[in-house]
């Protein structure tokens, strides 16, 4: 990759996330060449060697576009988020983790201590000495630091101002390509940027809109896990078959990838436009299709969703109105 002072600068950073988003960017095939041709990639730890101090040395606002993926879990994530915010004109929360916490956000259901406990001390962990990490440690070479964990994971916009959001776990390659095209056009003066705060690279409805499955007025007397439904009707709406499909509440843009191949949507594209709390939408939706009047009967049907928070907030817990579990806060309180 050649450095070229005249080309706009591009950065990408990977905070608390799985790395899938980076792969997704590389997965846009020949489009990646457009990126190289049109941008000067100044910072992208997964693809090139770069030092934080180099970024710190840059002039504020000198990077045109930063795709920031991952949530803010520790001090280092937070430092980089703020640093890149200062240096960047267009900061994009890229992928579900940066947008709304995603799977790492589910850790907000536990206090930090418990997370550390689980990581370092479960049956499957080989840690005979019961060793736990420390934030600083003296070695002959000097004092070593590892970043402190925050009590909860926060999506990017809870830490810094975000210009655009691009959900997906990861975002679909065709959507990434479209966004890259758009930015290039903007750079060339051929297009306008959408208004700040927009969600880009998505559709304007929900997954059901793109889902080819047939649907009727819904009324459900039992919720089941998909593996317990045999056989799954390949053409009928999954929700009508009692499988809690998150498609009705999830923003379109993925071409209903999961229901298309026979699996229920689990919601990685996040809430539809204007929705304040994704989980609330699904609670309403699932409850609405239940066909029962007696509390006992309703409870029995609800037993078919054994992990409600996991079901309705798999990707959105950190971005939800309540953001976390009480216990995660309580660590702080007591």
């Amino acid at each position: 990759m050649t450095a070229n002072g005249n080309k706009p600068k591009f950065a990408m950073y990977w905070a608390a996330s799985c790395g899938g988003c980076e792969i997704a960017v590389l997965n846009i095939h020949e489009k990646i060449l457009d990126v190289d041709a049109n941008f000067d990639v100044v910072f992208w730890p997964v693809a090139m060697d770069a030092k934080y101090k180099d970024v710190e040395a840059m002039e504020d606002g000198s990077i045109l576009l930063t795709l920031f993926n991952g949530g803010i879990r520790n001090e280092e994530n937070e430092h980089l988020a703020k640093l890149l915010r200062r240096k960047t004109k267009i900061l994009v929360a890229f992928g579900s983790c940066a947008c709304e916490g995603c799977i790492p956000g589910l850790a907000n259901l536990c206090p930090v201590g418990e997370i550390v406990q689980t990581a370092f001390n479960t049956i499957s962990t080989d840690n005979p000495h019961g060793i736990y990490p420390r934030t600083s440690y003296d070695v002959p070479e000097g004092e070593l630091h590892i970043p402190k964990l925050a009590p909860i994971l926060r999506p990017l916009d809870q830490v810094v101002d975000v210009d655009y959001y691009m959900p997906g776990c990861p975002p679909e390659s065709h959507q990434i390509a479209a966004v890259v095209d758009l930015v290039i056009k903007v750079v060339r003066g051929e297009a306008e940027l959408p208004p700040k705060g927009c969600v880009i690279g998505v559709g304007d409805s929900t997954v059901c809109d793109e889902c080819p499955r047939a649907r009727n007025v819904k009324s459900i007397t039992e919720f089941k896990r998909i593996q317990d439904v045999a056989p799954v009707d390949p053409t009928l709406c999954l929700l009508e078959q009692g499988i809690p499909c998150n498609g009705p509440a999830t923003r379109s843009g993925c071409n209903a990838r999961c229901p298309n191949v026979g699996a229920q949507c689990i919601g990685c594209y996040g809430p539809a436009e204007g929705v304040l709390d994704y989980g609330a939408r699904l609670i309403s939706a699932f409850a609405s299709v239940i066909d029962a009047k007696e509390p006992e009967e309703i409870e029995r049907i609800l037993d078919g969703i054994p992990d409600p928070v996991g079901q309705v907030y798999r990707f959105n817990l950190a971005g939800s109105l309540l953001k976390a579990n009480m216990d995660a806060w309580r660590v702080k309180a007591g």
Binding site: D204, S205, T206, V207, C208, D209, R215, N216, V217, K218, S219, C237, L239, G247, P248, A249, S252, P271, A272, E273, G274, V275, L276, R281, L282, S284, A285, A287, S288, V289, W329, K332, A333
Partner: protein, 670 residues
Amino acid sequence: MTERIGVYVCHCGTNIAGVVDVAEVSRWAGEHLAGQGVVVSRDYKFMCSSLGQELIQKDIKELGLTRVVVAACSPHLHEKTFRNACASADLNPYLCELVSIREQDSWVHTDKSAATDKAKAIISGGVARVAHHEALEPLRVPIHPATLIVGGGIAGIQAALEIADAGYRVYLVEREPSIGGHMAQFDKTFPTLDCSACILTPKMVDAGNHPNITLLTWSEVVKVDGYVGNFAVTINKKARYVNEELCTGCGICWEKCPWKVTDEVFEAGLGKRKVIYVPFPQAVPKYPVIDAENCAYFLKGTCKACEKFCPTDAIDFTQKDEQITVEVGNIILATGYDLFDVRRIPQYGYGRLPNVYTSLEFERLSNAAGPTGGNIVLRDGKTVPKTVGIVHCVGSRDQNYNPYCSVICCMQSLKFAHLVHERTGAEVYNFYIDMRTPFKDYEEFYQRLLAEGTHFVRGKVAEITDFARTPEEEGRMIIQVEDTLIGKQRRIPVDMVILSAGLEPRQDAKEVGKLFGLACGTAGWFIERHPKLDPVATMTEGIFIAGCAQGPKDIPASVAQGAGAAARVLGKIQQKEISLEPVRASINEQQCSGCRICNGLCPFNAILFHEDRMVSEVNPALCQGCGTCVAACPAGAISGTGFSNEQILSQIEGLLLVNVNGKTTEAVPA
């Protein structure tokens, strides 16, 4: 903040100001809510007075207010008042919000500082909410001038005649072969002892002949679509097996029909009727029906006597049920009542002791056109009773059965006592708990009975038995009761017992209610819009109730309600169109994914699905604005005017601005 909001805090005399520091509240709102757009905040003695309203109007004009918050009484009382005040100052009425600091605050709290803080919170909620109000126009829908009346008892007949006389079409649907209802079964009516048939028959005939009334007897409503002004009602006309065009009502068929069955409906089981029959001679319409369940032809394939003798070939065994649909703008339900089933009180012996009668049986027994020709005799058909016991409150005012008072039983029991006395000279005992004779000339009737020498025993009958303990009890029924005025248990031997059974909602009232979108109260009667001020309207626009369907009552009250409901309907028809509260749901097609989750949620079937475009749509005329679908749409595609997410979410924020200790809060982890 672009909105310019005015806040008006009412003293309501001392009703509010006695507990809430209104001056402080008003000052606080002006100061602390300025950031939310409040440009003026005032308190005033009576906001709803014309001076109070003028205050608002002046501010709208002079200060250019775009939103108004009035902190006073419940919106159910004065929302309209303040909306109108705004409207006359050219501010869209829906940009006004009335918050209740009286019913919800000053009247229910004693701690003045807590009440003042709560008033601040409530106002803060209202201010936050009003900023998101939209200018709305009431919905206007045309009203179809025809009316459907269900139930051809006296209440339904009265309503039908009133509307028809005013020149509008009425469809009168009656389930039985003839109209007339319960009143047709009676001999005399209290308190004047008019002959029931003499006063009812002319009305029935009028209804039968009226050019504006379409009588649909032997029919039932099966489906109701639409909404106020525009109902489409499907009616099932049961097969009569008699061609109404040809039949002249000559009566040869029922004369010739060789089969008799017990008449459980009109004769209350006391008499018999033919299989092809009219329930009573004055029936309207005059055409008979064939009771197919008992007809020899339908059961065994032979007979057809009626067909053979009919001079006009009107009998038609091939008739089928027929469904017709009519369009109407308003509906009146006058479905009446059922009699309490006295078998549910086994200790009163009905069904076991032959000479225990229900009130309706007695009506037939005493009716000159009844099975005994009006002779009051025991079941053996000849013995005239020497002593008769009449039991009040059977199944009424009793937690084990119906807790309510059935209203008519006392008067009806007095009527019975009089008839028995007059026709048999028997000794009559009336057993009552309280004597209730509340209307015009009723008490006078009671006094007449006292003068006649009727025995009145104050006490609820414990049991009626045929087991004699003493020789004078032999062969008779004994009524065991405490005479509470004397303070002694008494056993009174009688020959005949009449149980004044209470009135109950129709067995199928719940289902019928559902058909029309009406709810029944705990006792099962249809719920009126307001028990005192709107007894014939219901919560569903365009649907009215009259007569005993609304609750137990006597004939004068049933007639008054029938006429009242008719007046309400005529009022609507005259308006030609009706304006509805614009609280409605609507779907943003762009956002709707066609998931169809909302489709099954609307009880008024207001949501339709367009298969072609795969989107749902709300019919604003059907939607009643409950908001259930708004809360349910997972895509956030449905919004509801008047109660939008923005309005409610900001109201929550506003309410939480001041916490219970009066401190402005900022919730943070401790």
